[in-house]
């Protein structure tokens, strides 16, 4: 637990913007900045200090380049030469690129009970959006191997680290034994270069899960270290019939003309909003597509592994129904036109393609231009489906047209009903502190936060965001009962407890933002949002808390050990937004006891 506490930056000071004296000081400083600054124009920009023309070659040492942005937006005066106060990092510096293997598409691996998969973490060469770049890969693949296992089995994965950064693997959403949760300093020591760690993974729940590093995932995950674990249910009717299944991983990558933007070495850049990419990836590709026959039902298992981007996945002109999410099926299937999916969330969705032609699945959002103060439509095609005129070999249309109810899910959730209405056991407030941010950013934020949107769908302030690092920004989970923050919070439960946790995302903080809250090793229900009960429940391990909202979670504290609760925006996690809690072993009743044996 010490490691967790160390990761939280202590001593950060909130900037008291209500202080009259400080306001005078700010105005004086601001007048000085303006007087010293040349006139700014939308076309002049004044980015002399930002190395925008520097073209690195793969393997070269990194230098800072400012992120790509809308150049019609005027530069904040005073930031013309500003750089993040951390060093730049790119993988593979000093390595002969010709000796790095070309990555290959991810492969499927079926693991039966007792089987072991060897996974090597290494440098790979990738070709994305016209750029050759050095990235990371699990077994040289993008994404990492799709591991298939049967519910109730125990599989083993031996992870060997051949990159310079220490790493671990977290098995996201799996209610496995605590020793294999992959949290450095809590459940294991980091896997240093040349070392290996054997993970024992008992898969107790069917569904779609994923794995990723739990050390500097803002770097390692962004560079390609992620993969899925698909757990099959023994019931062949667990899901309805489908013609095919596609396991898709959504991601984005921030690149400019010279390749990927460097990451911060000792702390993340983009600490305010997280690192949005400008290239969309599906299974590591920019042009993912499939071909199906008319009337086919495609079951998608979708995982969002982006550092910060929440996608609004839109199935244009195709009928879709949501079936399952992180740790279970929904109580009942439901027609949907789109799926907002935050980092680390998963959804299982069945889609029917009735007519021949090309179908685009898009990320369709109303982005914000903070400078102009406007919303605008932003649409990116994520993948395409070409539907032939040939009818599908097997038609499941009649089954698809019926929305199934999953009584066993409702019954399971119903056993927790006594807890739905009672007061919360703990209340968390989500907020942020900053110190030593450049003054122009502080001043701009004061104006910008006159209105705070529930969600940030795009990086509307790429320059300010880039310059904010984990050294200046501390994202905070505050226990409102004790006043303790992040690593100081020491919740303790007994196995079998049911904990009601209320989370309030304070819209009056310096820079409010939504947070996808992840709880390790357990499952939870989203009981209500802003006091309104959710209607079609599903067991989750990650869920969005919008800005200004109050979300009640009901956590089934069934898995003993030392676990984490954190924001799954990678830059927020590494800017302090996490804490550990304990679930002590306890007495379980018959069904529970057999489940955990």
């Amino acid at each position: 637990m010490n490691r967790v506490r160390l990761l939280a930056i202590s001593g950060a000071r909130h900037i008291p913007d209500s202080s009259l004296l400080l306001g005078r000081v700010k105005r004086f400083l601001w007048a000085a900045i303006l007087a010293a600054s040349p006139p700014i124009s939308a076309t002049g920009q004044g980015h002399e200090g930002h190395m925008m023309v520097h073209a690195e070659q793969p393997g070269e040492a990194a230098v800072w380049r400012m992120p790509p942005m809308d150049m019609s937006m005027p530069m904040l005066p005073g930031l013309e030469s500003a750089l993040p106060p951390v060093g730049p990092f790119l993988p593979g510096a000093g390595v002969d690129v010709s000796e790095i293997p070309e990555a290959r598409p991810g492969e499927q691996v079926q693991l039966d009970d007792g089987d072991t998969l060897n996974v090597v973490v290494s440098l790979v060469r990738r070709h994305i959006a016209g750029h050759h770049m050095v990235m990371y890969g699990y077994n040289g693949q993008y994404p990492g191997p799709l591991i298939k296992a049967n519910r109730g089995s125990t599989v083993y994965v031996n992870v060997e680290n051949r990159i310079v950064l220490p790493t671990t693997v977290h098995w996201h959403g799996i209610r496995l034994d605590n020793a294999f949760d992959g949290v450095p300093g809590v459940t294991q020591a980091p896997i240093n270069t040349g070392e290996a760690f054997l993970y024992e993974i008992k898969v107790r729940d069917s569904g779609i899960y994923w794995y990723h590093p739990h050390m500097r995932e803002d770097i390692q995950q962004d560079l390609g270290l992620y993969g899925n674990l698909l757990v099959a249910d023994p019931d062949p009717n667990h899901y309805g019939p489908a013609n095919r299944e596609e396991v898709l991983i959504l991601d984005d990558l921030l690149v400019d003309a010279a390749g990927p933007l460097p990451w911060g070495d000792e702390a993340p850049t983009h600490a305010l909003m997280g690192r949005f990419g400008n290239v969309m990836l599906v299974n590591g590709m920019t042009d993912f597509g499939i071909e199906v026959d008319r009337g086919e039902i495609v079951r998608y298992y979708v995982t969002n592994v982006a550092n910060t981007r929440t996608f609004n996945l839109t199935f244009r002109n195709a009928r879709a129904k949501i079936v399952a999410s992180d740790v279970s099926r929904f109580e009942k299937e439901q027609w949907v036109s789109n799926i907002p999916i935050a980092p680390a969330e998963r959804y299982v969705v069945d889609v029917i393609y009735d007519e021949p032609g090309e179908y685009a699945t898009t990320n369709s959002v109303q982005a914000i231009n903070h400078f102009r103060g406007t919303f605008y439509s932003s649409v990116d095609t994520l993948w395409t489906v070409n539907v032939s005129a040939e009818p599908a070999a097997a038609s499941y249309r009649e089954t698809f047209d019926v929305l199934r109810s999953f009584d066993e899910v409702t019954a399971d959730i119903g056993t927790f009903a006594d807890h739905f209405q009672r007061p919360p056991d703990h209340t968390l407030e989500l907020t942020v502190k900053v110190e030593d941010l450049p003054l122009p950013i502080v001043l701009a934020m004061e104006i910008d936060t006159l209105y705070v949107p529930p969600m940030e769908w795009n990086d509307a302030m790429p320059m300010m965001n880039w310059l904010s690092t984990g050294k200046q920004v501390t994202w905070i989970l505050r226990d409102t009962d004790t006043g303790k923050e992040n690593g100081e919070i020491g919740w303790s439960f007994e196995q079998g407890d049911v904990a009601k946790i209320r989370i309030f995302n304070n819209p009056r903080s310096f820079h409010p933002m939504h947070h996808p809250i992840h709880i390790h090793g357990q499952r939870y229900l989203v009981l209500s949002i802003d006091g309104v009960a959710t209607k079609n429940r599903v067991w989750k391990d990650t869920a969005i808390v919008p800005v200004g909202s109050t979300v009640d979670l009901l956590v089934d504290m069934s898995n003993p050990g030392e676990w984490m609760l954190h924001c799954h925006i990678a830059e927020h996690l590494h800017s302090g937004m996490m804490f550990g809690f304990t679930v002590r072993p306890g007495e379980l009743d018959g069904d529970q006891a057999s489940f955990w044996n």
């Binding site: 303006l34 005027p74 903070h370 400078f371 102009r372 006091g531 309104v532 200004g548």
Partner: protein, 151 residues
């Protein structure tokens, strides 16, 4: 500090115009909540937020003929949506699928659907996103002329 009144995501104050007798001191507001959704946040296929809006008029002193009718409009008034007449309890529930919108209550002779209001505006309010404004001409961008950016 936990929000002491969590049921509403936020509340839009509806300000009287004073054009209708007996309404100048009336309290009116719109409570905004996310619409029901299987996801953590309710958005439409094109990315607009999907809200439930509950209009309430309290202590109205108006005793004359006609109906208080609720409307939504985009801030440029190019799109207008009829919500319907307020009920006997002087409230009305509806959905909103715009990110920035005006809430308007008018006094109408008819309680039937219409494309535009005919009667006087009694109350009006603005979604919280209406506070979003260009930075041109303000704070760090005080040297930027608004006109350059179309304002």
């Amino acid at each position: 500090m936990v929000d002491p009144d969590p049921p509403a995501y936020y509340r839009i104050p509806l300000v009287p115009t004073g054009r209708v007798p007996g309404t100048a001191r009336t309290v009116a507001f719109g409570d905004v909540l996310f619409a029901s959704s299987p996801f953590g946040v309710a958005v439409t296929a094109d990315g607009n937020y999907s809200y439930e809006l509950q209009l309430t008029v309290e202590r109205s002193g108006y005793k004359g003929p006609g109906h208080f009718v609720g409307w939504l409009a985009t801030s440029d008034l190019k799109q207008v949506k009829w919500l319907g007449p307020l009920g006997d309890d002087n409230s009305l529930s509806s959905t909103v699928e715009w990110n920035k919108f005006l809430v308007i209550v008018t006094l109408e002779e008819s309680d039937q659907p219409a494309n535009r209001w005919q009667g006087p505006v009694v109350f009006r309010g603005l979604s919280r996103s209406g506070l979003m404004h260009t930075m041109a001409g303000h704070g760090p961008f005080s040297r930027e002329p608004c006109a350059t950016f179309g304002y």
